[in-house]
Symmetry: C2
Amino acid sequence: MSITIRKIAKDLQLAVSTVSKALSDSYEISAETKRRVLEYAEKLDYVPNLYASSLKQRKSHNIAVVVPEVADSFFSSAINGIESVAQTKGYHVIVYLTHEDLKKEEAILRDFRGGRVDGVLISVSGGAKRNSPIHDLSAKKFPLVFFDRACEEVEAAKVLTDDFESGYKATQHLIDRGCRKIAFLGTSEDLEIIDLRRMGYESALLSNKIKSKKKFILRCGNSEEENYSLIHKLLCRKDRPDGIVGSIEKLATLSYTLCYDLKLKISRDIKIVGFSSLPFASLLNPSLTTITQPAFEMGRTAATLLFNILENKKGEVPNQRIILPSSLMERSSTKK
Amino acid sequence: MSITIRKIAKDLQLAVSTVSKALSDSYEISAETKRRVLEYAEKLDYVPNLYASSLKQRKSHNIAVVVPEVADSFFSSAINGIESVAQTKGYHVIVYLTHEDLKKEEAILRDFRGGRVDGVLISVSGGAKRNSPIHDLSAKKFPLVFFDRACEEVEAAKVLTDDFESGYKATQHLIDRGCRKIAFLGTSEDLEIIDLRRMGYESALLSNKIKSKKKFILRCGNSEEENYSLIHKLLCRKDRPDGIVGSIEKLATLSYTLCYDLKLKISRDIKIVGFSSLPFASLLNPSLTTITQPAFEMGRTAATLLFNILENKKGEVPNQRIILPSSLMERSSTKK
DNA sequence: TTTATTTACGAAACCGTTTTCGTTCCCTTT
DNA sequence: AAAGGGAACGAAAACGGTTTCGTAAATAAA
């Protein structure tokens, strides 16, 4: 039997309301009574029941972070950024993993509607339609901020990078390094950011009068094995690409593995640039040229935005759209 | 205003208890009534209030995973392992990050006592004393399973690897490759697993009649910069080590960075073996020889154990101690 | 001195479920 | 026909806090 506010009240000959107020440091209670209550609570090692207070107060002091996975440098850094601000606000951050499974994501969001969290920061998983009804509904039900991977048509705050430009820059960089047959590794489902990166890629090709080939645009899936064989096939073509844009971290590293396996020398035979926030991209063999997003900063910004909404600061645009700059970090994988 | 069971009851001219039972598919309720309730609930998009039911039922259907950080391949994989079993049990897993801050860890555990979660899986942060009172108390308060980083003297289930043996193996491997001046990079606080790894290291040195030097045993901290300069100092000594055991993933990769900066050629000038579950350790330059723990499997096992406790399966030893094997993956960083 | 105001506390309602007992009503038994 | 036994549902008490609204005493204002 856990110790409750009622027990404290009885033992101290006080009303439960008095104890409750004393514990929350209400002005209605005298210093002396507060002291008695605090002391006794401490002594009994009283811990308030979360569910009782949340039920009554209609707030949980929790925010959710919903991400596809955590074994990705972008997400793990972003989570740290989010935590850094949640902490100052006295909020807990709860991490939910979708494993790129839209069904799971929907289940999680639906579950939130029960009041589990006060707000949500989300980077949607593949397959989330641009105007997913569930995301839309959720955004109307409670504060929701997209970061990095958003649903375009859902009205909510968003923290993004300029993915079109990033795709363009990555591709242009490869072209500058002499590549002419550049492949783009994307995901199978229609994620907006991947689409934009691909459009940037295609636009760069166009600017340089290079024909974009369907065969060089891969739609990778969720399974490592499947992706392995897809890229394998790509790299075994007669007109094998001489450059790769890996629009997801794991696709870039997987390309490395394939080059190893196929005895292709990265940078000489084929140049690679990957989207990644890996702290040790420079330790890879060869060091990987990356488009690096300000992951921590994006998390921080998104969380700040969320708290602005929660605290209902006026003067704030409700559905802000913030674009943070990402940068091309040139390394050996694209050396001439 | 959210829609509640009470509204459904009123609209359908039923008692709240009837609706509640219908929703939980109780045998007391006729099929017809169930159908009506379900249909109407669906129509109104009813979502049960989590706090109300948890308050009443005294269970949350949540389990917590408490880890120092998530930007570490071991932890991110372990989390996936945990999730894989939680999912089959209909439980949510909530990830808490301590950032290796014991104060924060204590606050989190204390918070749990309010009933936030039904059970906890924890890998303690540095500085957690062997018999930390808070962990001890927590273990008595609710189901708690340690994985990887445990508090030795706290009575609770544990899923571990043989860290002494791993430290020994790593060191012996370096000796076999010709190293004689081997450094051990550990953490500053007394984590049991690090201690065991270090003892394995020292034991291997002893077996080979190599004197262990205090100066070669580094106690790294939490800040990257600090660790950088610590290792920097180590590698600039006149009698610079010819081998390094990195007992934490980030210490191994940091050593790489330092070798780069100091123009030391890894494997020729200095050999490195690191504890890591990085999927792309083989992509590093040079590929990193690792002690790899079965991270996913450990997560899975720990979670299974926790659910056994939650379900109170008899015939199960309450405080099992399971040791899983880790393996030395030989790669280029320790080539002769 | 009377009236207003403040201070410090208590009683009770409430948050939205679950759960325990009843209580009907109807159908078997004997 | 009386007793017994389900089947289907309702009333009300929890769960452990918070919050509103009183109220008595103490203090200040008139």
